[in-house]
């Protein structure tokens, strides 16, 4: 078993803490298809952990296992030292895990602010009726949560679209709003599913800046899937490389970059 207490120091001098989540011999099957084959790796506190791999490698499936959406047939997910049973998405959210989606999943008709506020739901205790009448505790609670939401809006520089319905926003901004909503949950572990897919260079640069400062400012542990190799190598502390459902590499960006199996997977060699 992996040591739960040690950590390491990153190249830029950040102290990475103990393991928060460990994937132990995970195998996930859809009928006869093995999407993930016996994969083990861990995510440590405060790090930016990337999962990369060619199309169909099983990255999104892996993220869905981490988020608890898929329950693997074999293996265990250990979260904060204890094996995690199968749970409902809202239970996962309460455990401090938030995520964004590859194909944006926002409430299109609602304003940006309202969307970000939905990220605060797990932090609200008052019931529907109290909130409807908006008296006493419910009012205080909304003010507190609004403050958190506003700080995140400020952080992600989306003040100008605070009141704009999401459906009217361009793609790049929607991605940012989704990130804001995930961040509003104040997660301990944030899962990003292709945060930069379909963006232009400038949007990618912005998004990278936000991801790094999120990690820096709030100490959020981030696990992300990304296609853009340049981005991944720049952002992440450690990288897991998957190909055809198997783990073919795991280590720092430099280690991964020089790993022959990884090079083959990306450049393409004949598979047996």
């Amino acid at each position: 078993m992996l040591d739960q207490t040690d950590g390491y120091m990153t190249a830029d001098g950040r102290q990475i803490g103990p393991v928060v989540m460990e994937m132990r011999n995970i195998t996930l099957r859809f009928g006869g298809v093995e999407a993930i084959k016996d994969i083990s790796f861990d995510i440590r506190e405060g790090e930016v952990r990337a999962i990369i791999g060619p199309n169909g490698a099983g990255k999104s499936s892996m993220l869905n296992v981490i988020s608890g959406f898929y329950v693997p047939q074999e293996g265990q997910v250990i979260y904060k030292g204890a094996p995690r049973p199968a749970m409902k998405p809202y239970q996962v959210a309460r455990q401090g895990i938030a995520r964004t989606f590859q194909n944006i999943a926002l409430f299109e008709g609602m304003s940006v602010l309202d969307n970000v506020m939905t990220g605060r739901l797990t932090h609200m205790k008052t019931g529907m009726f109290a909130q409807a009448f908006w008296k006493g505790k419910a009012e205080r609670e909304e003010t507190e949560n609004r403050e958190v939401a506003e700080k995140i809006i400020d952080f992600l520089e989306i003040q100008a679209i605070r009141k704009t319905p999401v459906s009217r926003l361009p793609y790049g901004l929607k991605k940012r709003v989704e990130l804001a909503r995930a961040l509003a949950a104040e997660p301990e572990l944030l899962l990003l599913d292709e945060p930069m897919a379909g963006m232009n260079v400038e949007e990618k640069e912005d998004m990278s800046r936000f991801i790094l400062s999120m990690n820096d400012e709030f100490g959020t542990t981030i696990a992300l899937i990304e296609h853009d190799m340049g981005v991944v190598m720049d952002l992440s502390d450690r990288v897991v490389v998957m190909d055809y459902g198997k783990k073919i590499g795991d280590g720092t960006p430099d280690e991964v970059r020089n790993n022959q199996a990884v090079i083959d997977a990306y450049l393409g060699v004949a598979h047996d």
Binding site: D12, G13, R14, L113, R146, E147, E150, K151, I153, D154, F155, E157, Q159, A160, R162, K163, E202, E205, R209, S213, D216, E217
Partner: protein, 656 residues
């Protein structure tokens, strides 16, 4: 009190004014800033405490009298306080343009030898760090927004609030020194140094004294009857003299409230929420707003559009007269009242102009249609003419004497004279002290009697006494035929079309005039969308045949109008090119205040200019561009050169 000290009721320095406001209007709002979705505000008394704490902290950091402290960032109360705090410790604040590239900053920081920099955020900190190795006098940096700066070396950086905290802690020890330094300030001490935008060559540091700032603020505030209860929105670059005079000078003199937007992108929302009573914007901002209104009206339902068109017609007919207090038929007054209720009121509210009592535009000529549009809505928009060297005000239009083609009468205390070559000279209490470390330029600009050359050619209209500006004096030239060439005159006419964002006219010493045109992506893009014209880039849209045809019709219309002018009828545009890239300050083609730099454009695009004169139909060219982050790239394009119809002047004369 001696004569020099008695000016403006003994209030002879910025700190003195701040102290007066803190005691006299202690509980009135002085600064507001929208943060976290809420307008945070500070009263004059609170402002004084904040500024004082920072000043004490600066003393603790070792700021000496006469030191230059650069202030870089977007408009925020904290940065205005930085300038005041600098003045409190006898240092000179130097606000710099926040969108300047690192190299430009290196020049200004090196030129004034700034020992300290107060930077707004990580972006500015990074830029200064990039160049600090070349700045021998630079010592320490203070930053405001800590985001992204956690990993930076704390030895090189101090947070703004930490400086204030230290100031508060050591108050007892440092206060006497601060008071002594404030007491030493008089009417002749330097209030601020502002760098000119550098239309020609390197920026020059304009030194303004307390006398310049306070006298000008006083007379201009009185001229427009500014009140303590007024509100302004501070959104123009802090490095620009106008912002300094409005948000610091006049704000301190009259004690009105300066409101800072949440971010650059939210300016229009914030404008609407604050509803300033005193508002300044360059013509470009008014143009953009009008373009946006018109674009949205195009998309409105037919009923709304007809109502809008009808009432705007009424407003155009009687609005300006009502605003100027002239007699208007009762029926028209009633119609206008109805229009106010149905159209003008809501429109002004949307634009954020519901409460504007005094509005100014300056910097460039404003299109008569644009100007009249705002005035017809009942917004008291006026023009002023000024420059950094005059501490803004040279001429301004008094209420009731407002026209789009003049810049008004001389401001209180300003004398005007027109030289033989048409150049405008002025003399006033606002005349700058000197260009820092540049005695030669100072002598070139300001003569021994205190007359300053504006560099603009103009004349005083005999009937009204208003000043009219034709063009930059050095840009006014002669065509091969000997006729007068005033490019700005033609350019302004072209720019009044919403589709045209920027244009440059050539023709000095030539047989005929030619022009570069930049399309307005907003207006043309919207048109393309409505007409199902697909385009992938600015370049593609700018080269679209239908766009070229539209621009050609605009050019031809301008030619007709130019032909009417006796002096300038030769300046009709014979051939033009719609450029494949937008002229940009990052590429050096515009100044940071968005003015065209002709010499640089002429050099950079010489191949296109040659092609316009040698009769070619197309020209293939490659242009270097600089991205926002300083990287360089190149765009190549093949541009069509279009020939526009001109009105034959001889023919017109014969016909008359």
């Amino acid at each position: 009190m001696s004569d020099t000290l008695s000016g403006a009721d003994g209030l002879v320095s910025v700190p003195a004014l701040l102290h007066r406001n803190a005691t006299q209007f202690g509980n009135a709002p002085a600064y507001r800033e929208k943060e976290f979705g809420i307008w945070q505000s500070w009263t004059w008394a609170q402002t004084y405490k904040e500024v004082e704490a920072l000043a004490l902290g600066l003393l603790d950091l070792g700021v000496a009298e006469g030191d230059f402290i650069a202030v870089i960032g977007r408009n925020r109360p904290y940065l205005y306080w930085s300038m005041m705090a600098a003045q409190m410790v006898g240092a000179v604040p130097v606000p710099l343009y926040q969108d300047a590239a690192a190299e430009e900053m290196a020049y200004t920081l090196g030129h004034c030898g700034a020992r300290f920099v107060i930077a707004g955020d990580q972006e500015q900190v990074d830029k200064v760090m990039d160049v600090q190795a070349d700045l021998p006098t630079f010592e320490a940096m203070i930053y405001l927004d800590p985001r992204g700066l956690r990993k930076y070396d704390p030895a090189a950086l101090t947070q703004y609030s930490a400086v204030q905290d230290r100031g508060r802690e050591k108050r007892a020890a440092l206060e006497p020194e601060m008071k002594a330094r404030i007491a030493k300030l008089d009417y002749d001490s330097t209030a601020v140094m502002l760098y000119t935008s550098g239309t020609t060559g390197k920026p020059k540091g304009v030194v303004l004294s307390n006398r310049n700032v306070i006298e000008t603020s006083k007379s201009s505030s009185e001229f427009d009857g500014l009140k303590q209860s007024d509100d302004i929105l501070a959104y123009l670059p802090m490095a620009w003299v106008g912002d300094f005079i409005f948000s610091v000078g006049q704000a301190l003199w009259t004690g009105f409230c300066t409101n800072c937007p949440e971010s650059a992108d939210t300016m229009h929302t914030d404008l609407r929420e604050i509803g300033p009573t005193y508002y300044f914007a360059p013509p470009r901002v008014f143009e953009t707003q009008l373009t946006n209104v018109m674009i949205r009206m195009e998309d409105a339902s037919p009923f709304k559009k007809r109502m809008f068109d009808y009432f705007m017609g009424v407003a155009r007919r009687v609005g300006p007269a009502i605003l100027d207090g002239q007699t208007v038929a009762t029926s028209d007054r009633l119609l206008y009242r109805l229009g106010e209720w149905m159209i003008y009121g809501p429109l002004k509210n949307t634009l954020g102009f519901s409460r504007v009592r005094v509005g100014y535009t300056a910097g460039e000529a404003i299109g008569p249609e644009i100007f009249d549009f705002y005035r017809s809505l009942g917004i008291n928009l006026k023009q002023l003419y000024g420059q950094t060297e005059a501490t803004v005000f040279i001429t301004a239009q008094p209420d009731g004497q407002v026209r789009s083609d003049t810049v008004g009468i001389s401001c209180p205390g300003v004398e005007l004279k027109i030289a033989d070559n048409g150049e405008v000279f002025y003399r006033s209490p606002g005349v700058f002290v000197e260009y820092y470390k540049n005695a030669e330029s100072t002598a070139d600009t300001k003569d021994s009697e205190g007359w300053v050359a504006t560099g603009d050619a103009g004349f005083i209209e005999e009937s009204s006494g208003h000043l009219r500006i034709i063009d930059r004096a050095k840009d006014v030239g002669k065509m091969a035929s000997g006729a007068m060439f005033a490019p700005k005159y033609v350019e302004n006419k072209l720019k009044f079309f919403p589709n045209i964002l920027e244009t440059v006219v050539f023709g000095n010493g030539r047989e005929e005039c030619t022009a570069f045109v930049n399309i307005d992506l907003n207006a043309v893009g919207n048109w393309a969308e409505r007409n199902n014209i697909a385009y992938a880039s600015y370049q593609e849209l700018a080269g679209h045949p239908e766009v070229l045809a539209t621009i050609q019709s605009h050019v031809e219309e301008v030619n007709k109008s130019v032909a009417q002018d006796e002096m300038l009828s030769e300046c009709q545009v014979h051939r033009f090119v719609v450029l494949h890239k937008q002229l940009d300050a990052d590429d050096g083609e515009l100044t940071r205040t968005q003015k065209v730099r002709r010499r640089i454009i002429e050099e950079k695009f010489s191949d296109i200019i040659d092609a316009m004169y040698d009769g070619s139909e197309t020209i293939s060219t490659t242009t270097e561009v600089t991205y926002e982050d300083g990287r360089k790239g190149a765009i190549s394009a093949t541009l069509d050169i279009r020939t526009a119809a001109v009105v034959s002047v001889a023919h017109r004369m014969a016909a008359e």
